[in-house]
Subunit: 218 residues, 2 copies
DNA sequence: TAAAAAGTTTAGCCTTGGCTAAAATAAATA
DNA sequence: TATTTATTTTAGCCAAGGCTAAACTTTTTA
């Protein structure tokens, strides 16, 4: 069995990857000192889960990737399960799942997936990897790079930033919301959008974290 | 925040207590070597959670007891929640809760309790401590010490022994089941009981783990 | 009540996963 | 290109929580 720390490192490397993950970025993502990340990368390399080239960067081996995706699957299933049963707000889900994901047996994972009807997206719109790590190829684009004057459908919102998520929630921006971009500030990238008849200003920091699709659903 | 190990030790001491908990029993309960238990008892004593008298035994301080009861509450809420939402078998619940109990925030604990309508018993019939550690005084008696020829109602079955639990389940012995004892073997304490018209033989090892009440429900 | 057995603690060791400070390397800048 | 700066790694330390073997108490038994 992998420890909580090992699972968190693998998941973070996956989230920051696919390759040349910088020690500093990894350390920051996990709230540890860079030296701690280096040491763990060495341990994970010794275990065959990571390939780390000193001073260059780290990436997951196939085995490491499989384990990372298993954590991601548990995380997203849990978010979906908690949202569905307990009506937790989208911004509370992540932190709970972050801890519960390490305490889920294969049996319970299966039971939850079955209960939910094997969902393919979590409440933030993130794809849920299959039991063997399968992920659909992602075709949506960033809101910050989307065309103006065209119907867009929100496909993904971030999950790690409760403040941003709360703001998005207040402005009714979440998966399946429709909107249309009216203008883009050429200086700072800020957007003006039309959403349910209302006009909303969207900062570029936000627009960089939100994904949209042009098609209906996906 | 208390570690998983600390929470498990506190809960085990509570389960084996209330006082003079033997090092060996504790170690066995937690599947660690006696020397490991001694060391942890010393750490917990230094933290004011346990009072340990060398060569005599250990007990929880009021603060330690509060923390132990908080773990027990989370454990039993989780068992109830999993049973209700996912229809897990009574014998699968314990092991899952054993790990999840350490990953539950106060918020999620509240949400689950509210969702369940603040239950006072878990699926094994064990009382669920209140948010401040309150527990009703337990008035039921052991099946092994119950009178013959009288209507009895199962109030508690064990949760840590999947085999025994599976046997009980097969024989329809679980909370709220009615039964009547017909005879007790004076040599080994084995029981013959009448249950839903059927006659069942109950070993004394089982009868020692099952609680009953004479009143309806409780 | 002395010896043996059982239970407990101590001593010493190990791994994991943190940290800081210093050294090494790579990247950026003058 | 030489130097400064940023990034990364190494070295050395620490606490938690395991373990085994040895020492010490307490309890049981002869
Ligand atoms: Mn996590
Ligand atoms: Mn998510
Ligand atoms: Mn536990
Ligand atoms: Mn229970």
């Amino acid at each position: 069995m992998d420890s909580v720390a090992v699972e968190n490192y693998l998941k973070s490397i996956w989230e920051l990857g696919p390759d040349d993950v910088a020690t500093q970025d990894l350390a920051q993502h996990l709230n540890v000192a860079p030296a701690s990340a280096t040491k763990m990368l060495q341990r994970l390399t010794a275990r065959g889960l990571v390939s780390h080239i000193p001073y260059k960067g780290a990436s997951l081996t196939p085995e490491g990737q499989l384990k990372a995706l298993s954590v991601v699957r548990r995380h997203r299933l849990l978010e979906t399960f908690l949202a569905q049963t307990l009506n937790l707000g989208r911004e509370q889900l992540h932190d709970e799942a972050e801890r519960l994901e390490h305490a889920l047996s294969a049996d319970l994972e299966d039971a939850i997936a079955t209960y939910l009807g094997n969902p393919t997206k979590d409440p933030h719109g993130h794809p849920i990897p299959g039991p063997d790590g399968q992920l659909p190829t992602d075709t949506d684009l960033l809101l910050s790079e989307s065309p103006l004057n065209q119907r867009l459908i929100i496909s993904q919102v971030p999950d790690r930033n409760p403040e941003m998520l709360a703001w998005l929630e207040r402005n009714e921006i979440f998966p399946d919301t429709q909107l249309e971009l009216i203008s883009r500030d050429s200086f700072d990238g800020g957007l003006t959008a039309n959403l349910n008849g209302k006009t909303v200003q969207i900062a570029s920091s936000v627009a960089n974290e939100v994904h949209v699709s042009l098609e209906d659903d996906s």
